[in-house]
Symmetry: C2
Subunit: 415 residues, 2 copies
């Protein structure tokens, strides 16, 4: 099936999904989880073929992300079951008024329609995305990366068994057959067939979507997150938070990449930072990339031209001494991707200036940036973390996968 044929089939399923009841959708999710478990052998065989083809061509870290096991499949199934327990976002009345002439005017949440998701080589995204799209009444068209395509195909085949078991169209979840750049471009420009495009992946994919997409698109994920240690910081707390934000899971988008330190405490704090992040860590010591002023106080790698504009996703932290909170805010404005930033300070004026001045999806006072996550923010789940201003910002849960329409009921009103 060509990508266009697949999109047309997806479009034909929109109405069935939009009008499916909560009970139907939850039954479908439970059946999808069951089918996933039942198909464990087929999925593992497909995954082994993916791994065999990818070995030597991709890094060990990527290979690890690609590999499935019976336990990981059980985890995917459990993720689907958890989506079934979340509230249905469709049909919520978001605003209600009565027109002076007597009509009722209601703004009601409805699904977006067809959501296309372009992702890379994590097979679990296939089931996560399908479950969130289904619960929010959306049809989804998945375009997996090439390295995980066989796994994604086996997973989608299982999910479709779950859909048909409860009488929903199997075209509610589809996998693009051709995992090439051309198919990605085709999704980006399928106006009228794709209602929302969500790219999930690295900076190159996101940039390609911004530049090429003519369909509505939500950018996700790139996080050059900053932590600013103010002169009035509790320094013991600051060490805990910087270490957590940098090292608890360095490969994710809400990990910190840059630490800004107020000049008044640099001479005191930087040696403590080095002691904690470098010398104090038996495994995975952090490489510090230092601005010239920081390098006057501690040893480390001199920061290169791009180090303050790089999402390292590794045990690397760029460190810069700044003159003031205003200077920190200005640095963030120039270098941030708009994901998550934190100020560590006990000074309320500094906190207020930072919170007002930093224009990112999540702005923290005295806490780790690692909390930017749909589950942590109380959304129950997440399809990705938006770094754009339009439509959704920060973690996208089920509500953010919906749009709304106005329903006006009258008895003959004219204007």
């Amino acid at each position: 099936m060509t990508t266009r044929e697949l999109l047309l089939a997806a479009g034909a399923a929109k109405s069935a999904l939009a009008t499916a009841t909560t009970e139907q959708k939850n039954a479908a999710l439970m059946a999808m989880a069951e089918a996933l478990i039942a198909d464990t052998d087929a999925i593992l065989a497909a995954n082994a073929a993916d791994a065999e083809a990818a070995r030597g061509r991709i890094s060990d870290a990527l290979l690890d992300r690609l590999l499935l096991s019976a336990t990981r499949i059980e985890g995917m199934a459990q993720g689907i079951r958890e989506v079934a327990t979340l509230p249905d976002p469709v049909g919520r009345v978001l605003r209600e008024s009565e027109h002076p002439k007597g009509m009722s005017i209601r703004r009601v949440a409805v699904p977006m329609g067809v959501i296309a998701i372009i992702y890379e080589s994590r097979p679990n995204v296939t089931s996560d995305a399908a479950a969130l799209a289904l619960k929010s009444g959306n049809v989804c068209v998945l375009r997996s990366g090439k390295d995980a395509w066989r796994s994604a195909d086996a997973i989608v085949k299982a999910l479709r068994k779950g859909l048909t078991a409860v009488g929903l169209p199997e075209t509610a979840v589809s996998l693009v057959e051709d995992p090439s750049r051309e198919s990605a471009r085709e999704l980006m420009t399928a106006n009228g067939l794709v209602d929302l495009l969500i790219p999930r992946g690295g900076a190159g994919l996101i940039r390609s979507c911004v530049e090429n997409a003519t369909v509505p698109c939500v950018e996700t994920g790139t996080g050059i997150c900053h932590i600013y240690v103010d002169q009035a910081a509790d320094q013991a707390m600051a060490l805990d938070i910087v270490e957590n934000a940098k090292t608890s899971r360095p490969g994710v988008c809400n990990a910190a990449e840059v630490c800004l330190v107020h000049q008044a405490i640099a001479a005191e704090f930087l040696p403590k930072l080095k002691a904690r992040l470098v010398d104090g860590r038996a495994t995975d010591p952090v490489e510090l990339r230092l601005c010239p002023r920081a390098a006057e106080t501690i040893d480390g790698t001199p920061a290169g031209e791009t180090d303050f504009d790089t999402e390292f996703l590794d045990y690397i932290l760029a460190v810069k001494v700044v003159d003031s909170t205003a200077d920190a805010v200005a640095h963030i404005a120039a270098h941030s991707t708009g994901h998550s930033e934190a100020i560590l300070s006990t000074d309320e004026a500094a906190q207020a200036a930072f919170v007002a001045g930093v224009d990112s999806a999540a702005v923290y006072v005295n806490a780790s940036t690692r909390f930017t996550d749909g589950g942590e923010f109380g959304l129950g789940c997440e399809m990705g973390i938006s770094t754009q201003r339009l439509h959704a910002r920060g973690p996208m849960g089920l509500e953010e996968l919906c749009t709304y329409k106005y329903l006006i009921r009258g008895n003959g009103q004219i204007r």
Copy 2:
């Protein structure tokens, strides 16, 4: 000043606008209204020069839209004063939760940043858009059509006097100096400098934005609105509503362009429709463009290939006989621009099927499509009517000109 220089200056004003208090913004609006009145002579002189240059090159209807008078300027000033009375959308807490570890997590409305508006030759859009942007804490960059550029320039000069009178940066409102296609293209691709682009104009402008914009964009305005007269319609009510939706103001986007009539009542209703819209109107009789089945019953113009896909904006109505509510829904899905559609019926099952099946910004039961408007929907004002699903749908008021950010306050939490 080049468009890029102007955008950079606008960006530098973002922070002042985002942190301006409600009192400051309202004082600025009152001062802007006053300055507009004070500059009446200069604005009228600029407008006369625009009209002189445009005469003979544009239609009388467009010329009428372009022409200002002291009364129209007073109306523009009054519009600005009304925006001052609306609630401030910035800073509203949209969602609030407490994390199990004790942090407070708040989702707070913030301005979009720099809003660029590309419009055509209605000078009043200049002051309307500037007032709405200001009240929502946004900087605006206006790109007027060539025919009204001198008028827009005189209006912006006046509005800036109001801004500086209260100490806000005059760069909060700017007019692009070059009203060419190139400047429009430049705004569409000014990533990082334009946070939201709103095109206000005809189908060509909207299409150009969809195809070329790489900045976030909200499509507005094109309305091929349908009214479906069901077999169970109150026919007297239907005649009132169809006449109102077609003729009360045919040049606006919420006017009806297509009437769908259930086959079971076509023989009875179509003659009444012709009597009301054609024979019964002393002035401005409506031209009916009929599908073959409608043409069997009444006289009119045979509908051509494009008549069911045209926003006439005139005393023209396309008429089609359909087999059922489902057939009406299918026709709308294939031909609507997603603006406003109505079902006229006393049958609750037909109403429910129509409301669930029609995917447009506004879906009416037994009322005229002419109500789709920010003021009528209780938003107090409107920047345009979105026909897209992402971010805002239907009338865009002050709240829809905002985005949000998450503010997380902790005391040392790590994950």
